[in-house]
Symmetry: C2
Subunit: 349 residues, 2 copies
Amino acid sequence: MLTQRQNKILQAIVRQYTLTGQPVGSRHLAEDLPFKVSSATVRNEMAVLEKAGLILKEHSSSGRLPSKKGYRYYVDHLLDPKAVTDNDLVVIQNSLGTSFQKIDEIISHSADILSNLTSYTAFTLKPEQVDVRLSGFRLVPLGNHKVIAILVTDSGDVESQAFTLPRNLDLDALQAVIRMINDQLVGLPLADVMRRLNDDIPLRIMHYMHSADGFLDLFDNVVSKAAREQFFIGGRLNLLDFSNTRDPQALQTMYRLLDHDDELSHLLDTGKAGDGVNVRIGSEISKDKVLDNYSLITATYDVDQYGKGIIAVLGPTRMPYSRTIGLVNAFRQELAKRLLDFYRHYYDS
Amino acid sequence: MLTQRQNKILQAIVRQYTLTGQPVGSRHLAEDLPFKVSSATVRNEMAVLEKAGLILKEHSSSGRLPSKKGYRYYVDHLLDPKAVTDNDLVVIQNSLGTSFQKIDEIISHSADILSNLTSYTAFTLKPEQVDVRLSGFRLVPLGNHKVIAILVTDSGDVESQAFTLPRNLDLDALQAVIRMINDQLVGLPLADVMRRLNDDIPLRIMHYMHSADGFLDLFDNVVSKAAREQFFIGGRLNLLDFSNTRDPQALQTMYRLLDHDDELSHLLDTGKAGDGVNVRIGSEISKDKVLDNYSLITATYDVDQYGKGIIAVLGPTRMPYSRTIGLVNAFRQELAKRLLDFYRHYYDS
DNA sequence: GTTTAGCACTTGACCCTAAAGAGTGCTAAA
DNA sequence: TTTAGCACTCTTTAGGGTCAAGTGCTAAAC
C-alpha cells in the first residue's frame, strides 16, 4: 500500500508524462507537487515506487515514467473524475442532434465524432439485439427479369438486394418458393434461419426448380446483412503514431492491422461482458505485441429494451485518461439517449 | 533534340534510379550502358542533359537523378513498351474471373487487384452511362408503418431504402403521391429528376399531404444513390511512403488527403477526356504540392454501348513506368471484357 | 573533334571524442 | 525524516577526421 505522498507523486508523474512525453526528473517533479519537499525526498520516494514496479527508468540516469502497472494503478485509484467540459458536451450533443434516417448512420457517425473529440481511433458497435427474428421475406418483381429481395426483422431492420432472375424461370415456381420460405422461416431467430439455409432449405427449393444456387446466395446474402454485427471505425489513421516513427517493423504491422477490420473488431469482444466504462492497458488489450503501447477504453451503452451496444477508443498508453474516460462516458450516455429517441420514434407502434 | 547516345544515357539513368532510388554516378552508369564509353564521356553527356533540365543533382558532388521534365521525356519518348508478363495477366484474369452479383463489386474489387499488382494506390470509376433515365419508382409497404422505396433505372440499376411513415398518414394520399411521382418523373434523366425534386415536386406533394419533407429526403436519397459516381480506392495506405518518412509536415498533409475521398476523386476528373492510357507526373496531377513526388497513370476502359469507366494508379514519381503502364493497360482491357460479359449476361433481354 | 586518363575539389556518411546537461544514488549532516 | 552535496551515469550535441563516391576541368590520346 502506498502512502498518500507516494500517491500524489505517482499521480504527478503520470500527469507530467502524459503531457510532455518526456521522463520526469526529481527536480521538476518537486516543483510540480502540491506540497513542498526537496528533490532528494522525491528521489527517495521514487525509488520506492520503482521497487513496487509502478514506474520505470529509460536508462540508469534518466527520469521516471509510468510502467503499465503504474498506469493501471493510476486508472484504478488515482484518477480524478473530472467531468467532461461543457464545450465537449455541446459538441457531442450537436453532432448527435442532426437527423438520421437509419440507426447505422448514427452509429457510424458516432465513431467519427468520438475519434475527432479524442483524436484517437474510435469504434462503435450497433446495439445488439438478442434473439432477432425473421418477420417477413418478399420478392418484388421489377420487370425485365429483375426482382428485389426484401427481408424484415421483428426489430424493424430492413435489408434488400436486387437480383436478376435466371432466364428460364417459371413464375409460379418462384411464388411457391417464396411462400415456402415464409412458411418455414418466419418467426425464427436469424441464427436459425442461417442454419436452415444450409440445411434443409436447398432441398425444398429443388422441389420447385432445378437449381437452388442463385436463390440460396440471394437469401444468404440478405440474411447475413441483417445478422451481421455492425462495426464502425473512425479515425483509423490516428493509430499511426507520429512520434513513434523510428521503428519501421512496428509500423508495418500497424499497417496490416489498419487494413483488417475484423482483427480490430475482435478487440471489443471481451468488452461485451462488463458494464460502464472499462480501461485496458497495453498487453491487456490483446496478445498482439503491436498494441503494447496502446490503451483501449471501452464502454457499453444501454438502450433499454432495445439492446446494448459498445463504443471504444484506442489511443496511446500515454493518454490523458481523465479526459478520455470522461468523454467516452459522456458519449455513451448521450448516444443511449439519442438512440432511445430514435427507436421510440420510428419503431414503436 | 537529343542524340541517340544521350537518349540511351537518360534511359539508363531513369532505369537505375527507379530501381535503386539512389542518384546514379558516371562510373556505374558507364558499366550499365549497351555501348562502351568511359565515365568521363558519360560525365560530359550528363552535363548536357543537366543543362537541358532533364536530370538533377542532389548536391554538387552527387550522382544524377531524373527531373520531372526528365521523367516526362522518358515516358513520352523512351519507354520501351514491354508487354505485361504472362504471370500478371493470369493474376488479372483470375481475379476478375470470380463470380459477382453486382457491377459495384467488380469495380470495387478491381481497385484492390490493381493496387495489389502495383503495390500503389489504385482508383476505379464505374462506367459512366450518359443519360440514365428513371424507369420506375415504387413504395412497397412492409407493415408496421414501414415501407421500402425502390428505384429502377433504365440501365438496370436498382436502389432501395427503407423508410418509416409518419404516424398520421393517409394511405390514399400515399398512393396518390407515388402515382404522381411516376407520372411526372419516369423517363427523365436522373439529373432532371434531381432538379425537379428541388423544384416543383415539393409543391405537388403538398397537394396531397401536409409536409413534404420526409418524402423529399427519401426520394432525394435513392436518386442520388443511383446517380452517384461510383468511386473506389484500393490500397490507400500505399500512399504513405516509408522511405519518405523524414518530413512530418508532408506526412500530415498526406493523412488529410487519405481521409478525404472526394479530393482524391477530383484527381480523375481530367482523365475523363482522353482515351487509352495517360501519364501525369508531379505537378501535372494537381495544384496540391503534396503530390509533387507522385505520378498518376489513368486509363479509360470502354464497355461498348454500356459506357466508359476509368481506372488509375497513383504511385511515386520514381516508379517502373514500363511495368506499371503495361499493367494498367492490360487491366483496362480485361476489365472491359469482363464487364461486357456481365452486362450482356444480366441486362440484356 | 571526340574520347579518355588524371587530378583537384565537394559532399554526405560514418566514427570518434569532448563537453554539457539532466538525472540518479548514496552519504552525512540538519 | 528530510535535505544538501557530490560522484557517477547516460544522452545529446557539436566538432573534427577519414572515407568513398562523385563531379568538373584540363591536357593528352585517338
